[in-house]
Amino acid sequence: MKFLGLVGSLIWCQGLAPLAAQEIAVLYGSVRDSSGQPLRAVVSVAGGTQRSAADAQGRYLLRLPPGRQIVRVAHIGFASIIDTVPLAAGDSIARDYTLAAAAVELQPTVVTAAKRSQLLDQAVTSVAVVSDTELARRAVNTVDEAVDKAPGVQFLNGQVNIRGSTGYVQGLGSRVLLLVDGVPANQGDRGGINWDLVPLEEVQRVEVAKGAGSSLYGSSAFGGVVNVITRDIAAGWHARLRASGGAYANPPYEVWRFRDYTGGREGLDVSGSYGTNFVRGSLTAGGWHSDGYREQDRQNHWQAAAKGVWLPRPATRITASGSWASDQYEVPLVWCTRGACDDRGLTYQPFKIATQDTGTFTRSDKGYLTALVERTSSDHLAWQARGSWLRTRFTDLRQGADDFGLANRLGAELRAVSRPTAGRIVTVGAELARSDVRTNIFTGDTSSTDTVVRTHTQAEFAAYGESEQLVGRARITGGARVDYIAVDGGGLSAVVSPRLGGVLTTSRGAWRASLGRGFRAPSLAERFVSTTVPPFRVIPNPNLRPETAWSGELGNATRLASGLHADAAVFWTEAYDLIEPSVNGSAIQFRNVTRARLAGLDVALTAQRLIARLTTSLAYTFLYARALASDSAPGGPLAFRPKHLLTLSADYQWHAASVGGDFRYASRLERVELYPSDDRVAEKVLDLRAGVEQGPLSVRCRLANALNYIYNQVPRTLAPVRTLSVTLTWTY
């Protein structure tokens, strides 16, 4: 009560005499949360202009006219309090308030769905957002581990699927486009994605835009777009240190044991930044080592990233950023089957590899540089220009022969966002890209790959435009993009990708609908791969055409109750000329073979603090994925697409401590390729986590696959076993 005494003295000395003279009353006190921590809350008079911001100790003081005053006490993240206070002239009344934590129902903004900033519920397609809070809470080590739990998203051995878009093609061509701060970052040669391109420490949030996005992004945005958005740099000095360590569970059965020690994983990342009102910069460096959870699975990873921002004028921002990562890792390939290793009398050994695959090793380096100029010229016009360079290099060291590829992807884009009239937003832009690869495996050579080294190029030119018009409570969007693609300087092939969409805000939430075209140009690897995969010869197909799709969805996002949100969408994709490996005699060749249909339902429910301190979510995707013999004749199921995908999450926060978990269920794959007769099971994985934050320190533990459920998603490739990791973060 020292505080009250102090305030009383203060009032006595400085206030009472004038108060009495002016017929003014004083309301004072403190604002704290339920744990007793002071809050810098705002105490204001309803309908009036008087307000007081509490200080660091939560103390406030308001001078008010006498009478009954209605006072509102508010702080972000807490439920407001309305209090009626009778005040007599010259009197002073103490009121201490305790605010209860409440869901912060701020409408998030996204930048991926329309290539500009917009409110999430104004996007015409479904967008899932993984915030840095979720990244930290999950204590993951790579971006893909966190994105994996987003509704409708599934990773198959590192390959991302959005609503079943890609299946599994061992990294050769992704039907999902990866962006880093809006810059395309799929590999120039294989078209795949390096998820470790950006250090996790640098990631602010990840946006997953589902459905075809080619009307704005062109090739690869066939099934969706994943945009990794890096942290903004705050003013002043800041630093962060993240140390992690962990261990992999040993095989649950002695007969599967493959080493006499417990595998571990350890890593360290350090980042620092400094910013003023004019210039800002950050630097991150780190690395990790992993013993892996199976035989021949060790990996070393080193990375560095830097970002610089110059703010020469209030409405102008110039950003340069870059990242580099290097990996040296053993390649476990497929697990050992009977006779291919010391099988100990079993038909297969999931933790071991075939003797003939011993020594397979890959060295992979990748990096990017980006420069971006953003300018808001007026209230009606903003524009940006960027240039980017993505470089990847890999060398596969294996018995018999080594493969290598050195690829570059140079890109440039000019984009303008205009608001010519109230309620209308127009986005236009042009984009150029040039990819090249020098390689001894994607050569296009039909005889031998051992000694032939060739270079191939692919150039892409594109222009796009999209307009949004507000009509009453509806936002109508229409646009298109035209892409021209030339391979090795040959003739241009053109692809037009239109999209129409709309959002209608009603009392039953925001309804959204869209129909657009997606396409993916074949990667240089798919066109020119020439290698031997015993007993097959993989032969090139330079005449591959782009694969295309029409993709539509109808969705609704609504608030069912305070803190309870629901988002549901039905989606439908008709795919044409899907590029798939086709076996013909002793040869495998990529061909435009598959006509397919992917349809289904996405449902996501999020309950924030309906029960005190508990946040829960449910995400379910039903997927009907079928290859079609023709437009009307159904074929078999598409390979590597689970029919049911369910994710349940719960997190409980108590003061500075939190516990939580995720449960993921993916139904048994109806169809796989290569080894269709192998045993396979559904995916049922439980991840548990706990953490404590105290000032600048946080400690988080994660027990991934807590039940040590042994399963595989792709043939003869063991999925991660139970892994315990502890992450210590210090922030300055």
Partner: protein
């Protein structure tokens, strides 16, 4: 709903469903639920030093020409039989329902196939096949029928001293 209920549901669901992959001993008879053929192969003769592996496959119809040699099931072929290639060993071959006129063991020499298998003659040899006991034909008449279950006792001999190249069955076209 009480505060701990959702977490308990998640945990219960996970625990209830935990039936992942488990060790699968090499069978000595057709496993339950298995669809295909099973049996015991008995090795004879001396295994060549250049052996890459020995594979068992099934042909719905006996190949009529060299072009039919790739019409086997399953495709690609399963893993090699287990080393050492001595004594007797039980095998299982997952193949779909149907009638198979030739269940055959193929010996493969170390080496890589050329495009279109043009060097198959030098890399592959027939090393034995299932036949009826009374059968005396060149390739046997041991028809095997698979009907939604494991067809057991498809036993035969693999004799490394009596292997036959492709040209034994289908002489190479004469060169001009």
């Amino acid at each position: 709903m009480r505060p701990r209920a959702p977490a308990a549901i998640v945990l219960a669901a996970a625990l209830a469903c935990n039936q992942g992959l488990e060790p699968a001993p090499v069978p000595t008879s057709c496993p339950a639920g298995f669809v295909g053929v099973c049996g015991t192969v008995t090795f004879r003769g001396t295994e060549p030093d250049s052996t890459d592996g020995v594979f068992i496959v099934g042909y719905p119809t006996f190949p009529q020409s060299r072009n039919d040699l790739l019409a086997f099931t399953p495709f690609p072929p399963p893993s090699s039989l287990q080393r050492p290639f001595t004594g007797a060993q039980f095998y299982t071959l997952r193949i779909p329902n149907g009638r198979y006129e030739w269940v055959v063991a193929v010996w493969k020499k170390t080496g890589t196939f050329a495009p279109n298998f043009s060097n198959a003659d030098s890399l592959l040899k027939e090393a034995g096949f299932y036949r009826d006991h009374a059968d005396t034909t060149t390739h046997g008449s041991g028809v095997v029928v698979v009907n939604s279950t494991g067809t057991d006792a498809i036993d035969f001999v693999i004799d490394f001293d009596e292997m036959h190249a492709i040209s034994y069955y289908f002489p190479a076209p004469s060169q001009p």
